[in-house]
Amino acid sequence: MSAHNAEFRHDFAIIAGWLPFGSKVLDLGCGDGALLQYLQDSLEVRGYGVEKDDANWLACMTKGINVIQMDLESDLSDFEDQSFDTVILSQTLQAVNNTEGIVREMLRIGREVIVTFPNFGYWRHRLQSLQGQMPVSKNLPYQWYDTPNVHLCTIYDFDQFCISCNIKVKQRLVLTANQPVTFMPNLMGSLAMYRLENNPPLK
């Protein structure tokens, strides 16, 4: 019936493995709602999506997903502090402008945060760059002139971001072709998946 049956999404399964049954989940930039539908079907999560695009919004609502049409960049203040178990930003990080602000908002709203993004340091991307081209791949399917991605980063970059922002990386998982990558992940990994928490405030 839905897209995720046609192609099994390992990243969805991993996210599901990180969530307790029945937990309350906010999916920011939820696209057509495939992830939330998967999580509702498999874990009976109490889910809400946030989506700005009309067609995506309609696809979510038509699936019976609770979806709020708003702008991640400016409107997240509508959500109360610590009002969700988990806030997810699935392959959307690279398309937001106010990256730090949004990650901080996610940590304010959720007790845990899941962020996944295409690793710009993946060797195929590096190779294309060396060849003098902007990288195009399965996880980065856009041409330079039509990409919504404004803040591409590598796994190394994101680790540094978390350190400088005093964000605790609870778990990190790197995938290539749906398989976990442990050897040189910033070179060999195509998709990065993080579980984040607030560090205790610095004394």
Partner: protein, 385 residues
Amino acid sequence: MSELTPSSLAPQSVGIVRAQTARFNQSLALKSGAQLAQFDLVYETYGELNAAKSNAVLICHALSGTHHVAGKYHADDKYPGWWDNLVGPNKPLDTNKFFVIGVNNLGGCHGSTGPASINPATQQPWGSQFPVLTVEDWVTSQTLLADHLGIQQLAAVVGGSLGGMQALQWTLAYPERVRHALVIASAPNLTAQNMAFNEVARQAIITDPEFYGGDYYAHGVVPRRGLRIARMLGHITYLSDDAMGAKFGRRLKDTIKYSFDAEFEMESYLRYQGDKFAGEFDANTYLRMTRALDYYDPALAFNGNLSQALLKVTAQFLLVSFTSDWRFSPARSREIVKALLDNERSVSYAEVTAAHGHDAFLMPDAHYHAILRNYLNNISVGDRA
């Protein structure tokens, strides 16, 4: 709230319809403390009520709406009902699936008991003596109509603007009687600016020499001038600046004549709309409709905390706002969304990009109608055990 064009969707029309009247010989206690000893509600229905009586959808009208939502009374009627583009077979609110009810609110001037009706105690028109009604009173009276039709629980209540407030109120006051609320271009209360427009409209009516304190019926006149100006003002606020610009711009009907006649097309439009409305709407009803808008504020009893006010809500919600609607702005709809999120209720919210201002909720925009169609398609009306 503007004119609808004659329906171009005749094959999907509910066809020829007729209004019905339900008489209630029971006292209705109003929020103001007043009582109505008996009253009539005039209504129309489209589609068939199923055996389980689980497919009923109530449409609540806005300031100047009526029970005549869809179809025509006669084949040669110039216009169909006011939301005919929404309601009909295979339309977004599909009468093959739903039993749709349109009702003229109490205090109205299209057949339900209102200020122009005869007060049984005096055998004179109610006029100034007709009570001031509230959204809460309307919803209470609508539940009595549902009882009359044998409907315990509505599949959905749908309303735009003031109608959206009624849909919201259903879920607050009668949570067990409504499964879905579609609250469109609405707000949890009016802002001071919004109420200010109502006050100017009322002052135009009340200061009309032919208003006679509301008892103009006995004088054989109506406060046309006041009602006309009230409606002209309303029309300005229902359109966006861009929509007015696109519709009229600075176009002249002819040439500049250095007069105060209707030289600009915009002036002709407003005068036409004002005249038309003043000839068919009751000024006392207009006063009461605007007052009901002003008074509605479900958060008031909760120190302004709308989330607490919505604690008892169980219905599932769809909220829709329109980007260019400055009279019921998207931010106001989002206040309701936030209160529902705070209570972890089922809610979806769409902010439709539209140029028409508040009037957009009556327009057949493709995306807007797809939203309503898909949401309504998902509502289960299966015969429930």
